[in-house]
């Protein structure tokens, strides 16, 4: 599935902005901006509102109440079930990205509060093998969903994945799509809400499984979201792609997502949604009539 994202590399921009120096160039408005200014602005371009990619920990800091996050299943790391023989071996690729990101896998899961509402939270980091889903990402997200069932709390997952299902683990990766979707079927039966947040980019097998199954689906502005990569589509249909194709606003217009929400309002909005959908909490805060 990652094939579809092949030639188009949505990370070109995010790579450029990883602050080496003091300034970054916004990929949208081409303005040169002081890095501290971007950071202080939730990594939103102060000139044009472009949303720079957030790392997993940055996302946790943005959305989870300070001091409430407890990481779970941190010890799960990838094996090499195919003994993958490519130009790079899988262990090589893993250690490269571990070094570059300081993460041991492409997802962080845990428990925490969103404005005092307890949630089971997961976030993929698009810098780690393009945020692709292999066995570890699939397993950690499945456990994240299962914690929602066990603890009777909502599940919130923020996706950022240009890679979709991870090639290096072959069909094991493909099957994680069914595994995470199966867990969401049980969550739904348990009556707990699932909020899926799509960030730039969310593609392929990640979008074609858990990320599309939110009771509510919210996208950050201007994010690339699709099943197949734009280049592959352009090559297949041999015509020019429409303006804004596969961007959040385009998906909203075509009825594929509930909302496009600016990062500044995201936490508040998720809170408001959970206040309505999460019955347990509703009783506690006393808004039940």
């Amino acid at each position: 599935m990652s094939f579809f994202g092949s030639k188009f590399n949505p990370f070109q921009t995010s790579k450029r902005k990883i602050p080496d120096g003091l300034f970054s160039k916004c990929p949208k408005c081409s303005q040169t901006i002081y890095n501290k200014e971007i950071d202080a602005n939730l990594k939103i371009c102060p000139k044009c509102e472009y949303h720079f990619t957030l790392g997993a920990w940055e996302r946790i800091n943005l959305m989870i109440d300070k001091g409430t996050f407890v990481e779970m299943d941190k010890s799960l790391i990838s094996a090499d079930p195919l003994n993958f023989q490519g130009p790079k071996t899988y262990p090589q690729k893993l250690s490269e990205d571990q070094e570059a990101t300081g993460l041991n896998e492409a997802v962080i899961c845990g428990l925490g509060n969103i404005m005092s509402i307890p949630v089971s939270f997961g976030v993929t980091d698009s810098r780690f093998i393009m945020g692709s889903m292999g066995s570890v990402v699939g397993e950690k997200l499945t456990r994240c969903i299962e914690r929602g069932i066990e603890k009777k709390i909502p599940v919130v997952i923020v996706s950022g994945s240009g890679g979709g299902a991870r090639m290096y683990e072959g069909c094991f990766s493909l099957m994680q799509m069914a595994k995470t979707s199966g867990a969401l079927s049980r969550l739904s039966e348990a009556g707990m809400p699932f909020i899926s947040i799509l960030t730039n980019p969310t593609m392929g097998g990640v979008l074609a499984s858990f990320a599309s199954l939110g009771d509510i689906i919210i996208a950050e502005p201007d994010a690339l979201i699709g099943f197949a990569g734009p280049r592959v589509i352009a090559q297949t249909v041999r015509q020019e792609l429409p303006e804004g194709f596969q961007k959040s606003e385009y998906l909203l217009k075509h009825g594929n997502i509930d909302r496009v929400t600016n990062r500044r309002n995201l936490t508040q909005e998720v809170f408001q949604i959970l206040q309505v959908l999460y019955q347990e909490n509703r009783k506690e805060v006393g808004i039940e009539n």
Binding site: S75, L76, L82, G102, M177, F210, T236
Partner: protein, 342 residues
């Protein structure tokens, strides 16, 4: 039938036999001993060849233009097929076939991707690459089967879901995702046969079942070997290497526990004897229906959930360094990030 490149040496011997037979007939010379030896040799060599194919060679058989497809199997295996059309929302997708039929005294629902054999049919079937309405049609009919406790037989044969503008606009990813979730809770046996190409999410979209069966030369992969070669090796010429690396053959996937059973194909591939292949599949279908029909709806769902729940290989790392907490992490935004936002 055009031989595949690796079949050519064998074809030569076969041609010799035919010529020898003709000569024997025309010139009334007795070559029967030589012919018998040659024929034996051919069979032995064939067995050798086809049991030891490389993944790339199997791929050529899986995509062989004469390989029997869903409609072939429907006509060979089932009786009284009634095709059902449309997703009741947008349209009817000809890349996915669905309908009612009977086999061995059981009423069943049949679902399957249809690639098409000649150019006209390929275009009509969109090369077996479904749009969202195809997945939605399949789900609509599978959910009906679940309501009436009718077993579902799914034939998987697609290069992938269609990568197109309208497919994206109508929610290709969503259509597949919803199938993955909803197929988990079908209260009837779902038996899946990967008969040719198991192309990624497009294949999985109708392949969440109680039993996953693969034909000997079929493939099932997270990405096409061409796509994988283009991304990792940056050239399509490395497709054989990618096919090898992806471990996409029935034998590999069976060893991984992803596929439950492999059905042996007629020597040289299903296209050499479609009827024989169909008979093998038919026996498997009847046997599996009887096996799973004994389970009730809830037990089937538990079994199916558990089956996919346990797929995945990972290790548990001993945590030597203290875990990084949210507040003391090194990488991350400036403290301003944690301030309340207006």
């Amino acid at each position: 039938m055009e031989p595949l490149d690796f079949e050519k040496p064998l074809m030569e011997i076969e041609k010799n036999i035919v010529q020898l037979k003709e000569k024997a007939l025309n010139e009334k010379i007795d070559f029967s001993e030589t012919i018998a030896v040659l024929e034996k040799e051919v069979i032995e060599k064939k067995k050798q060849l086809y049991r030891n194919l490389s993944p790339d060679q199997r791929l050529k058989i899986a995509r062989h233009p004469n390989r029997p497809n869903t409609l072939d199997y429907i006509s060979f295996i089932f009786k009284d097929f009634i095709e059902l059309h449309g997703d009741r929302v947008f349209g009817d997708d000809n890349a996915i076939i669905a309908g009612l039929a009977t086999v061995g005294g059981h009423g069943v629902v049949v679902i399957g991707q249809q690639k098409g054999k000649d150019t006209k049919e390929k275009l009509f079937r969109n090369f077996g690459m479904a749009h969202p309405e195809g997945y939605r049609k399949a789900l609509r009919i599978m959910q009906m089967a679940s309501r009436f406790q009718v077993p579902i037989i799914s034939f998987i044969d697609t290069p992938g879901a269609f990568p197109g503008i309208s497919a994206e606009e109508r929610g290709q990813a969503s259509a597949i995702a919803v199938n993955l979730r909803e197929m988990m809770s079908l209260k009837t046996p779902v038996i899946c046969y990967v008969i040719g190409e198991g192309g990624s999410g497009g294949a999985l979209g109708i392949a969440v079942g109680d039993k996953i069966v693969m034909l000997e030369h079929a493939y099932y992969s997270v990405i096409s070997p061409e796509g994988c070669a283009a991304i990792l090796w940056k050239t399509a010429t490395k497709t054989p290497e990618a096919a090898q690396a992806l471990k996409m053959t029935a034998t590999d996937l069976h060893a991984f526990g992803i596929v439950d059973e492999i059905l042996e194909e007629p020597l040289g591939g299903a296209h050499r004897n479609p009827q024989e292949m169909a008979q093998t599949i038919k026996l498997s279908i009847i046997q599996t229906i009887e096996e799973f029909s004994r389970l009730g709806g809830e037990a089937l769902i538990r079994h199916r959930q558990e089956k996919f729940r346990q797929i995945g290989v990972y290790q548990t790392q001993a945590l030597s360094q203290p875990s990084v907490s949210q507040t003391e992490m090194e990488i991350g935004p400036s403290p301003a990030f944690n301030k309340p936002v207006e």
